[in-house]
Symmetry: C2
Subunit: 327 residues, 2 copies
């Protein structure tokens, strides 16, 4: 039996799993990322978390054949560079040497959302399908596209960046600098801007002032849920606008590449899926060309916190991918 | 040596090629589609054109191993139905029996733009690349996506319908019923609506009144070129708006799937490419997320009239596709 590890490196936590070659999770471990975000310090915690996961799985570290590392950044696989991870304040990190020295075995690095969608493709909502597109809605909106078992990345490693699909030329400014990106409508950062405008410029009132006093900077999905349950009009409008835009993006995906399923996940959906998913579906059906939404499944993600780490571990297990490992 | 035929069935002409198993075109034939658009009548002309192409290739018809038929419609390959071809006034045509009786050999039917992009992938601008997206700009805007040798269609056969990607929520009405589709900005039908508004509602003048008196209904790409060369402001504005939207769509494709190359073709580009392509490129670079346009080639299509028929003929040649033929 061979074993593999997958590690999800995020801005708040590091999460590791160990799997066998059937994809069963044998053990997990979780650590806070910590305040010091220099790559060297975080990498020590990554190794620590990895060793904890091995212990929790009752596997000796030397039995691990390969490691998949998922980071919140696009990854230049040829030059072996983590390009830009704002959540970790990492810029152009050359990972080849440290990983080789740290793990002493094959390690593969890729974008976290890609790995999460890959996990859903093999073990979650996308199991058995030919092609899926995942969208994960939180502070930002990340995505990933798997076609026929392959993660589609493109030459500049932007594949999956559906959050920056422009759905309204000349629309609201996105954090990326462009205007009218999906993220500027659908993710929490965009919702906040929109709600600020309703409250500060158009005199609307919101329960968020009490529920989440810092809502103008950051707002938890659970606060949004509470406000929504009390029928807060400002929050309701922002959520409807978000769901409508995600539905437009889903319709666009159907027209552009025509996937079998669109899988929606992330904090906002986990808290508000009951309300969100029917609205997204309605908008998707309305905006899809030539009844294109017929037969396309719109699904919630299934794997929760495991998705990214499991996807990364499974990715390094697949023999035909071994030639892409960074040794 | 084995031989294959490909036939491009359009609203104005039927165009057939015969190739050998290296993809060399041995002969061509062309016929007007004619006024009677019933499937039975057009199908007779398809057979006539096919036999002419065999004669022109000095190949006996019985030496043709399989035929690829490209139609201006989405095609339901499981139910063997040509779904909706407005240029031919065809609706839900069941093609299995007539093709079997007419050709007496394997025939594969698919969307014309898909076949054209497949042709460009193997023999034209996309030769040697992993993934390309083609956009063809004429009265409408059709597209096709080839990833790793496969035409990506999706469960509802809408893959490639980039003309109906919504790039402006709440934007101008498209012929499909939705608002803000790429086609409503970029294709001739959308340009005409925009120019009518400039002339009829905002009092602008255009040389098209002389160059193409029927421009409010239909306008040739050559008339657009002539007006453009005389610096007609109305035409210039419409062309710039079109190129900007195509650039946004190209940037969206880079974010969503990240292709190696985007290939632009069709009547408008053939007439105005010198002017159009730099504008599209500028908009693509400006709107692409995270410098995603770096390394993505923006190319003009190369195969002209041959693209669709050659693509269809080559598609039926590929052995691994034989299981998808309709016998």
């Amino acid at each position: 039996m061979e074993y593999y590890a997958g590690i999800d490196v995020g801005g708040t936590k590091i999460y590791a799993v160990v799997i066998n070659n059937e994809g069963e999770i044998l053990g997990r471990a979780k650590l806070k990322t910590g305040g010091d975000r220099t790559f060297e310090v975080v990498f020590k915690r990554i190794l620590e978390c990895y060793n904890m996961a091995c212990q929790n799985s009752q596997i000796e570290e030397k039995q691990i054949a390969a490691v998949g590392l998922a980071v919140p950044s696009s990854v230049d696989r040829l030059r072996r560079v983590i390009k830009h991870a704002p959540n970790l304040s990492w810029e152009n990190i050359k990972f080849s040497e440290p990983l080789k020295n740290g793990f002493g075995k094959p390690v593969f690095v890729d974008n976290d959302v890609n790995m999460g969608v890959f996990g859903e493709y093999h073990f979650g909502a996308g199991k058995g399908l030919k092609s899926i597109y995942g969208m994960f809605v939180g502070t930002g909106l990340g995505g990933g596209y798997v076609f026929d078992g392959q993660i589609v990345r493109g030459v500049s490693y932007t594949g999956g960046e559906v959050g920056h699909m422009i759905v309204k030329i000349g629309g609201p400014r996105c954090n990326c600098g462009n205007k009218g990106c999906l993220e500027a409508f659908a993710a929490k950062a965009g919702m906040i801007k929109y709600m600020k405008n309703l409250v500060d410029k158009r005199g609307k009132k919101t329960l968020l002032e009490k529920l989440a006093p810092n809502w103008r900077t950051t707002v938890g999905s659970s606060a949004l849920r509470k406000a929504f349950q009390k029928k807060d009009k400002v929050v309701m409008k922002a959520l409807k606008r978000s769901a409508n835009a995600i539905g437009v993006a889903a319709a666009n995906l159907i027209s552009v590449v025509g996937v079998d399923a669109i899988i929606i996940g992330g904090g906002v959906i986990e808290e508000l899926g009951d309300f969100f998913m029917p609205l997204i579906r309605k908008s998707m059906i309305k905006h899809a060309f030539a009844n294109g939404a017929e037969g396309v499944a719109l699904l919630e993600s299934q794997l929760g916190d495991d998705a990214v780490a499991l996807g990364a571990a499974w990715f390094v297990r697949l023999p035909e991918k071994q030639n892409m490992l960074f040794r």
